[in-house]
Structures are given as C-alpha cells and as structure tokens.
Symmetry: none
Subunit: 220 residues, 2 copies
Amino acid sequence: MSDSTSGKGRESKSMKSIDRVYKYVRQYIRDNAISPSVRDICAGSGLKSTSSVHTYLRKLDEMGKIEYRPGMRRAIILKDTDSATVTPVPSSDVVAVPVIGKITAGQPIFAHEDYEENIFISRSVIGSNECFLLKVSGTSMINAHILDGDYILVRKQNHADEGDIIAALIDNEATVKRFGKLNGVPYLFPENDLYSPIPFNTEDCQILGKVVGLHRYSIS
Amino acid sequence: MSDSTSGKGRESKSMKSIDRVYKYVRQYIRDNAISPSVRDICAGSGLKSTSSVHTYLRKLDEMGKIEYRPGMRRAIILKDTDSATVTPVPSSDVVAVPVIGKITAGQPIFAHEDYEENIFISRSVIGSNECFLLKVSGTSMINAHILDGDYILVRKQNHADEGDIIAALIDNEATVKRFGKLNGVPYLFPENDLYSPIPFNTEDCQILGKVVGLHRYSIS
DNA sequence: TCAAAAGTCAAACACTTGTTCATGAAAGCT
DNA sequence: AGCTTTCATGAACAAGTGTTTGACTTTTGA
C-alpha cells in the first residue's frame, strides 16, 4: 500500500528526524505525484508514531518549507523552497521537449515513446511551436558550428526555405543538413568539405523541421 | 473549505458530466497542487451525488485519462495525455539560471539583480552546481565554435585548469577565453587568429567559472 | 544532580472521504 | 406502451487519515 517509494526507510542515524521527514515528503511527492499520508511518512522516516510526524509536519509548515492544511488528507505541498537556486517554476513558462533517440522504421516518429527523455526549455525560446531535440552524431555540419554530440532544437514543419538548416529523414535515418538548390534541383548540403551534397528526392526524404536552436553540453 | 477554486460550478449545459468532472479535476489540481476529493468534485461539477462522481472517476481511469487509486484519499493524478506539449513540471527537475547582462563595476556580480532574465534548464544537465548564463558578443572564440549571440553556460568556480574554456572578468568586463600557459605564464587565448592572447595577471583578471554548456537560438 | 525541555511513542478519537446500495427519473429502443 | 439502459440521487457504511492526549525516555542546562 505504501511501498511505492520502496526501500530505505530510516536514513543516516545522524540526520535529525525533522530532516528525514522533510526529505521523505519531498521524495514521495516526486515519485508518486501525490502527498504522502502521515502514516506513509511514519514508515518512510523511521518514526513509529503518527504523533511525532504530525508534530514535525506542523513545524515544517511554520518554517515555511511545506504547506500543511489542517484536516485535509494527503494535502501537503512543497513550498518551493530553499534558495534562489531552485525556484518555483510557473509550469507554463517551461516546456518539456522530447529528445528523439533512434528513429525507428515505422512512420509515426513522434507518436509514442521513441524518445528517451525530456529536456526542459524555457517557453520564451520556443513560443508555441512544437519542437523536439535531436542529438547530432558526426561532423558533417562542422562549418555551421554544429558539432558531434550537440543537441539541436527542431521546430516541426514539413517545408523548408532555401538556406535553412533542417532536420530531415533520409532512408529512415535522421540527419541535419542545409537545404538548398543547385541549378533548380533541391539538395541537402553538409557543411563539411569532406562530404558531398545529397540530392533531395521526395521519395526517400522527409523534412522533419527547421533547426531553431542548439544545446551543447560537452565543451572542450 | 472547498471554495478555493472559487466559482463557476456547473459549466455549459451542453457538456456531458464526465467532461465536466475531468475538466474540474484538471483545474483543481492546477490551482491547488493536490487532488480534489470526490465531494470537492461534486461541488465543482454540478453533480450532487458522490456516487455519480465516483462512477465517472472510475470511467476516466479506464479511459486512461486519470489514475484513480482505489481507497486512497485525494489520490487522483492526471495521466498526461493529450498534448505532451505543456506538461506539469516537477519543479525540482528544473532550475532557473540567471542570464547575466552587463557586468557593473561593483564587485558582487551575482549578488542582486544584475541580471535581466532567467532561463530554465533541466537539472539533469546542471546537477547541483551553481551556474549562470552569459551572452557572447564578438567572434573571438569562433574556432571553438562559440559564436556571437550564443549563450554560454558557466559553472561558477574560481580556478581553472590548462585548456579549460572559462568566463573571466578582465578590467571589469566579462569575456570568454581558453585558459592556458605560454612558457609557464598564464594566458587567456582567444580562438580566433585575428586576436592575440591576453596575459592573465591576477590583478585585473578574475575567473568567474568554467564554461560547461552553450545555447544558441540564432541559427543561420 | 535535579528539573525543565525536547523527542518519541502508543492508543484512542473524530472527521474526511472512498465505496456501495437501493431507488427513481430520463432516455432509447422494439 | 413496455422494457432496458443510462444517468443521477441520497443515505449509509467502512476505511483511511488527521489530531489529541498522556506517559515515558532522552537531552539540555543550571
């Protein structure tokens, strides 16, 4: 019944009970998305009396760490929170953008869980567009300063203007290239002299979207 | 007691009850951060019997719109569902990172509000480090693929290893350079042949932190 | 060393709240 | 019109859960 946050129970003996209570509440809410009951906290904090837990919850409320509404069941909410580092985030200001991993053969790339994780991005940089992230592998776009390991932010659309850097699906493989034309014929241009332009034929190629941003977390 | 989500109660008469229930649950959770009780939903949806609400909740669970755990109080959670675009964000997963604008003359750069805005970044890419963002101006680091207009993510620290790309304060101006040594003497190296290395003397120079990431939102 | 304060517990109580049941009205269908 | 199905209601029950009380133990401080 209350085993979801399986495990540990009492923590390091040195930590004070009130800390254990707070930590456990935090953990529980993160895991279960609902508040724990007093008795859940008992089990999770090592305290054996609901009374003790109750006392600490009230104290944590006074300290401003949580909001504890008298009488209500499972009504603890975290008062965000310590410092300016972790801030209360108005969730409308943040968007969870999926990182598309390997593109499987089937058509609906975005449909279910082809992605492994979400990265949160400020809405201010995305607006109301539908976006996703793609991890770059290879150096074919190095002259456009897009490196191996970068995450590119792609705004979904199925057309492209000449000169746009886009994400496209070629033979069921996702790549990043610059879209352009050569003598009126559409091509996908790598930005690396070692690679050759790829003819863009609508049979094997599908435009996923336009690259509107880039995240890099491996600096060297 | 249950007036927090003050107001409207029953909605457009045309809407079916099950929709009103779902909408109200959604609304309530958004407003109060905890699940409503069956009786709360009664009041909010216009239904007068807990039994009716209970039926619909169970149905919504079968439909996969919510998760309704039998017996638990205030334990409804939304099974997200439709958009995937706007998600309830566990705020501990997101950090607000300040964008440092102009560096004013005074010492404590980070102290108060020298910054203009925050950008939200996933905690998964930051960890527990203290970070800030700096907008790059100029092309002095172009060979390191850091462009004019990029935002660099800086982890605060006051030392640097040879080869690190760092943010430093030179004569009260913030710059990005690679830290290194020439004949044992520390220098700040631009990554652009048009610029010359800058001798790093501890009088005028202060290390702000190490560059650990990069965001670019102007692709061309 | 002694008394006050703080920490912890068990048990009981009372209220919130999920769940069920029987009933009745409204709507669909033959 | 009759029958079935759906929708809704109110009442009652049972369980989960917040809260209180009093006692016991440990720590703190003079």
